[in-house]
Symmetry: C2
Subunit: 205 residues, 2 copies
DNA sequence: ATTTTCGTGATACGAACGTACCACAATAAT
DNA sequence: ATTATTGTGGTACGTTCGTATCACGAAAAT
């Protein structure tokens, strides 16, 4: 055989090519040949590492979700050591906003996959329910922590507040994506709503 | 010539067939032949009334937006004679939530078009910026009216609050669409946030 | 050293798509 | 009555897509 190659690594490279090509052409318009050209390999190789387009797309979605998770984690880590609930939530939600090319592509493709999942059973299963549920649980837990520390506005119910913040962030992201709103404006709206959930910090200034 | 036919009416019928077929198959998967079959006409007729698929899709989007506008107006009108700001806003936002088959299709296709508009210049122009901007202005104006009447929670800024409510509604709609959240749960979250914007009514009970 | 297996290339195939073309009947215009 | 125009059907064309097939070199395995 020719030199053994790491299948996982190769599949990741091709998946990244899929993401890049789909970000440029739109997920609906990207074909196996586009992915091959973007990855700099032959059509046959894309077929070889992914038997069918459907499997390529599924892998691409998981790859995208994983990369997004890493991005969020990095943002949260960048919020400093032992950050408060608000800092974590802010990092979490801000990471989802399409403020640069990478996050724009994330939002664009994730929404594309979400739309596809409405009519495609194979796509409907995985990361459109579990991941957002986990994110919502995380934010809700952080809000409860903040409530215990007396950092929340009075009468705040962590569960619907968490659901609202995530839906707000997603909705703002879409409006940025279609050009209705600038990234700065979306960030301001997000900050406004965080300010209304969190009671202003006291005693530090 | 054969009996003259109302082109506008015929185009509307075909556009409805497009909406139905796209709701079933997904906008990305619907073809001229599917639309023709759904409308019960020949492929040639779809070509005749819309010269190209692109024009059919554009008309379909405008048709969808118009129908959605009518639906919202009907909901607002159903809120009763001279409804207060909260009732109008509630009707407005609730109309956007995918709670039944029709609104589900609306949300599904509107999001599909929005995703397409990211990579399709012809689609990017019209109803993704103007309509939501108008909706946001309407809600903001209603909030200002409510603020003047002392019906808002203290410190509420109508502009970001309006933007937030619309983004919230859109985000909740998407989460319902992909099956992460039930329509009832989305309605509850929406009501929770309206309750936090509007100060409870006094003196009426 | 031979055989097997793995990675890679080129290309062919059948289906589906959007569009173009041809034909014709029905009616309005002359 | 003839002519021109409009609505409609059928169908063929060229392209593109996902997939399948054939071929072959290179390195493990024997």
């Amino acid at each position: 055989m020719p030199r053994r190659v790491d299948h996982g690594e190769r599949r990741a490279e091709i998946a990244e090519a899929l993401v890049r090509a789909a970000g440029r052409l739109g997920l609906h318009a990207v074909g196996m040949r586009d992915v091959a050209a973007e990855a700099g390999v032959s059509l046959r190789l894309v077929q070889y590492y992914f038997e069918s387009k459907e499997k390529l797309l599924l892998f691409g979605l998981r790859h995208l979700a994983a990369r997004f998770g890493e991005r969020v984690s990095a943002r949260v880590a960048a919020a400093g050591p032992d950050p408060g609930p608000r800092a974590v939530i802010e990092a979490l939600l801000a990471a989802a906003l399409p403020v640069d090319a990478e996050s724009r592509t994330f939002h664009h493709l994730y929404t594309s996959y979400a739309v596809l999942s409405v009519t495609d059973e194979a796509l409907a299963a995985q990361p459109f329910i579990k991941d957002p549920d986990a994110a919502e649980a995380t934010v809700a837990a952080l809000l409860r922590r903040a409530a215990d520390a007396g950092q929340l506005a009075p009468g705040t119910d962590p569960a619907p507040a968490a659901a609202g913040l995530l839906a707000l962030s997603a909705g703002l992201g879409t409006s940025v994506l279609v050009g209705q709103r600038t990234a700065e404006s979306a960030t301001e709206v997000l900050t406004y709503h965080l300010d209304r959930v969190f009671r202003p910090a006291v005693g530090t200034g």
